[in-house]
């Protein structure tokens, strides 16, 4: 299978630790997105600044590839589903992609 120049966007979500799994399930149930991944990280931001000390808090990073026509809708969904609309919760970013392998779902037998 050759990589194709498909119009897809990459959405990356930096959210508080412990929400990733639930958001991935919500993505599948409500948005029909079956392919996304989450990993742990530690983060520092304006909400946890201490004098001359780095004070990290637990974070999770969710990455999902979405078709261009649904990008804004899923961006909005993730913004609220991950609770980024609350103070000091994180952020969400969207990037262009140039090449990707087409996501082919396994055939149901």
């Amino acid at each position: 299978m050759k990589p194709v120049a498909t119009p897809y966007k990459a959405i990356t979500c930096f959210c508080p630790g412990g929400r990733g799994q639930r958001v991935l399930e919500d993505l599948r149930k409500e948005m029909g997105i079956n392919c996304a991944f989450v990993h742990h990280a530690r983060g520092i931001g304006v909400g946890n600044v201490q004098e001359k000390k780095l004070f990290y808090i637990e974070r999770e990073i969710i990455t999902v590839l979405v078709p261009v026509d649904r990008a804004d809708e899923i961006f909005r969904f993730l913004y609220f589903a991950t609770g980024i609309d609350k103070p000091h919760a994180g952020m969400i970013v969207m990037e262009k992609t140039t090449r990707l392998m087409p996501i082919v779902e396994p055939v149901e037998l």
Binding site: H39, D85, M91
Partner: protein, 122 residues
């Protein structure tokens, strides 16, 4: 809580892959250079330097730390430069850093700040 999203543009994502244990110092330098925050996670990476440096490639540790910093386009060059010098990325095998443009980003913005800027635009 409002259901509106304030979308920010002109932002970039700075990614730095450094030797394990170096990230804290890099984050400290980036914050001094104006970065608002950073996200760090562990990774394992190998490359050509692994093979060619030192005895059996033991000079370069495969354990890495990856740093994500979202910054405005204006600040990006300055922060990138600070990261580059702090992580000693000019030394072979120490890691790498790159900047990718972001189409848009969103985070919580205090309503009074939104009001202030919408007033100043009028």
């Amino acid at each position: 809580m409002s259901d509106e999203i304030v979308v920010l543009t002109d932002a970039v994502l700075i990614t730095a892959i450094v030797q394990r244990g170096v990230a804290d110092e890099v984050v400290r330098a980036a914050r001094r250079a104006g970065a608002q925050g950073a996200t760090v996670f562990y990774a394992r990476g190998m490359g050509v330097r692994q093979r060619h440096m030192g005895v059996l490639g033991v000079t370069v540790n495969a354990e890495k730390e990856v740093i994500y910093i979202v910054a405005s386009t204006d600040q990006a060059d300055h922060i990138f430069e600070r990261i580059f010098t702090t992580a000693k990325l000019d030394t072979p095998g120490m890691g790498m850093a790159y900047v990718t443009p972001l189409e848009k980003m969103a985070t919580y913005i205090p309503p009074e700040l939104i009001e202030k800027f919408s007033d100043s635009e009028l």
